[in-house]
């Protein structure tokens, strides 16, 4: 920088405020002063950059972030190009929801007004392996997207367990780490599993409840649970906390567990839906004050008010390869006005991790699904 004020030397060298804003005739800066000002500018800029990186978690490599969560899914299950990082094996379905109007008492969401809305969904098996052999004990999932007439959407992802085994995302993650296969034995280390249960009594309690419910024989005759609590707001502005359940109209049958083919659960679903439409009642369980809304490992007490708000009908099935459902993120926090998250820490974490999982798989080439279009047609 040329110093055009060189002739008006001043021993002081201070910023002369009288001549602000232009300071045209202010004294030139001494070398020390110049350095100090440049250093000050440098520090301010570094501070700004540092604050930005701090917010982005660059200085906390231990922090559990959505990206580190999905990295762990990839370590446990491997990378399967184009597939979900959890509930990777699945098939798509379509149908509709007939609301009976009862839900409007709880929530002003348009989906609960009397009438029918189209639904697209996806049945899945828990775990990150898209070709895992079906087993009765594997968690079964159902993701649904309701398209409301005003353009809003409601998405939900439910499973067939009556309670969730993990109370917060850290517990879910720690269990994922504990379930990682040992490279030598190709089995998870049982000691790690035991240690996890010992330090997570709520998981042990939840597993006891889960084991007391024998899984049904198929996707079609099982109930699916929201597990997480949600806050409903009705037209009067009154809030209630609810959890919901899809209870099957198809009668419960215990699974035989006898030697079955690799895709017996999915084949059973395809056969059954091609015979007749499958139906579930959507039932809201209403919390009483004091019921835990922030811990999905704990069931609400028996006898809570149940409100049947309508019937879900699923009448067609399609391979993921041809269905738009593959490209939907069944983020449980895509909610219409009148439904909001509770303080359950799983909810925001699910939204964040599903988004990360979705972003990664969206950019990957799609490999054939286990349940191919020809398997659905046969």
């Amino acid at each position: 920088m040329a110093n055009q004020n060189a002739k008006t030397t001043n021993e002081n060298g201070e910023l002369l405020n009288e001549t602000a804003p232009m300071e045209k005739h202010s004294a030139p800066l001494t070398a020390g002063n110049m350095f100090a000002r440049l250093a000050g500018i440098g520090c301010l800029l570094l501070g700004v950059v540092g604050a930005f990186l701090y917010l982005g978690g660059w200085f906390s490599p231990q922090k559990l972030t959505p990206a580190r969560f999905v990295d762990e899914f990839e370590r446990v299950s491997g990378i399967h190009s184009g597939f979900r990082h959890n509930h990777a094996k699945g098939v798509s379905v379509r149908g509709f929801f007939d609301s009976n109007g009862q839900g409007t008492r709880l929530s002003k969401a348009v989906v609960f007004q009397n009438g029918r809305v189209p639904v697209i969904g996806r049945f899945s098996l828990g775990g990150g392996d898209p070709h895992v052999p079906d087993a009765l004990s594997t968690v079964r999932g159902l993701g649904l997207q309701f398209s409301l007439p005003d353009g809003e959407q409601w998405r939900t992802a439910m499973i067939n367990l009556p309670v969730f085994p993990f109370k917060d995302p850290q517990a879910f993650y720690d269990n994922l780490v504990a379930s990682q296969l040992d490279p030598n034995t190709h089995q998870p280390d049982p000691a790690k599993g035991t240690a996890f249960l010992a330090s997570h009594p709520e998981t042990a309690r939840a597993l006891t409840i889960i084991k007391s419910h024998a899984p049904s024989s198929g996707f079609d005759n099982t109930a699916y649970y929201s597990l997480n609590a949600f806050r409903f707001v009705n037209a009067d502005g009154a809030s209630t906390y609810v959890r919901w359940t899809l209870t099957p109209v198809q009668p419960y049958e215990t699974g035989t567990g006898a030697s079955q083919n690799k895709d017996f659960l999915f084949d059973g679903l395809i056969a059954s839906i091609q015979q007749h439409p499958l139906q579930w009642h959507l039932v809201m369980t209403v919390a009483q004050p004091g019921d835990p809304t922030d811990n999905a490992t704990i069931p609400w007490p028996e006898g809570r008010e149940q409100v049947d708000v309508g019937t879900l009908t699923l009448d067609s099935v399609e391979s993921e390869e041809t269905s738009p459902a593959r490209d939907i993120n069944f983020d449980p926090l895509v909610l219409p006005a009148g439904m909001a998250p509770s303080n359950d820490p799983l909810l925001s974490a699910r939204s964040a991790v599903y988004s990360q999982s979705f972003t990664r798989r969206a950019g990957e080439t799609k490999e054939p699904s286990e349940i191919t279009p020809s398997e659905v047609r046969k």
Binding site: A20, G151, P345, A352
Partner: protein
């Protein structure tokens, strides 16, 4: 941006108002954006603010651009060399472009993924792009890239203003200062 200039040494009141309002919004958006994608617990709350705030920036930048075209701009300070003037002009073009394109990419990527683009309550935007997750993946990366570029452009902008104000001492900050600068 064809700058019509006068002898006034300060940007007009409306330009200064829009500058500081948007500076606050843009810095908040960069912070919210980078924090939310690294957070499990605050993700939902932050992303619910991020969408409407981003759309607000989109609206404001259009107003700001029109306002700039209609305003008379103060001439560059005499202390700026032609090269500096070119750099300053180029950086302004870059900032305006990013402020326009970044929210459009945000809106576009959610459209391509067919997420509902909820602003508040039941108010949501229509999709502006066809459904394609491949397109989503590209735009999602673009959104990150442009956000970092915007951040770097801001750091350069802030650095240049600090350099002029504290080192060259040509009173550059007072040209955009929210208060009225004394006449010279």
């Amino acid at each position: 941006m064809n700058a019509r200039t006068t002898n006034r040494q300060q940007f007009t009141g409306s330009m200064r108002l829009l500058h500081w309002l948007m500076a606050a919004l843009v810095l908040a958006m960069l912070g919210i954006g980078i924090a939310m994608v690294a957070s499990l617990g605050d993700y939902h709350r932050l992303v619910s603010i991020h969408r409407p705030l981003g759309i607000l920036i989109l609206i404001l930048v259009v107003i700001r651009f029109v306002n700039r075209c209609l305003s008379s701009l103060p001439p560059f300070p005499a202390t700026m060399s032609p090269q500096e003037r070119f750099a300053a002009h180029a950086s302004e073009v870059l900032l305006y472009t990013l402020l326009l394109v970044e929210p459009l990419v945000g809106w576009g990527m959610l459209s391509a993924a067919r997420y509902p683009i909820v602003l508040f309550g039941s108010l949501h935007l229509f999709p502006i792009l066809p459904h394609s997750v491949t397109l989503y993946a590209v735009l999602r990366r673009t959104h990150t890239f442009l956000a970092y570029l915007l951040f770097l452009a801001f750091v350069a902008h802030f650095g240049a203003v600090l350099f002029h104000t504290l080192f060259v001492r040509d009173g550059m900050l007072s040209r955009m200062a929210p208060w009225r600068a004394r006449a010279r």
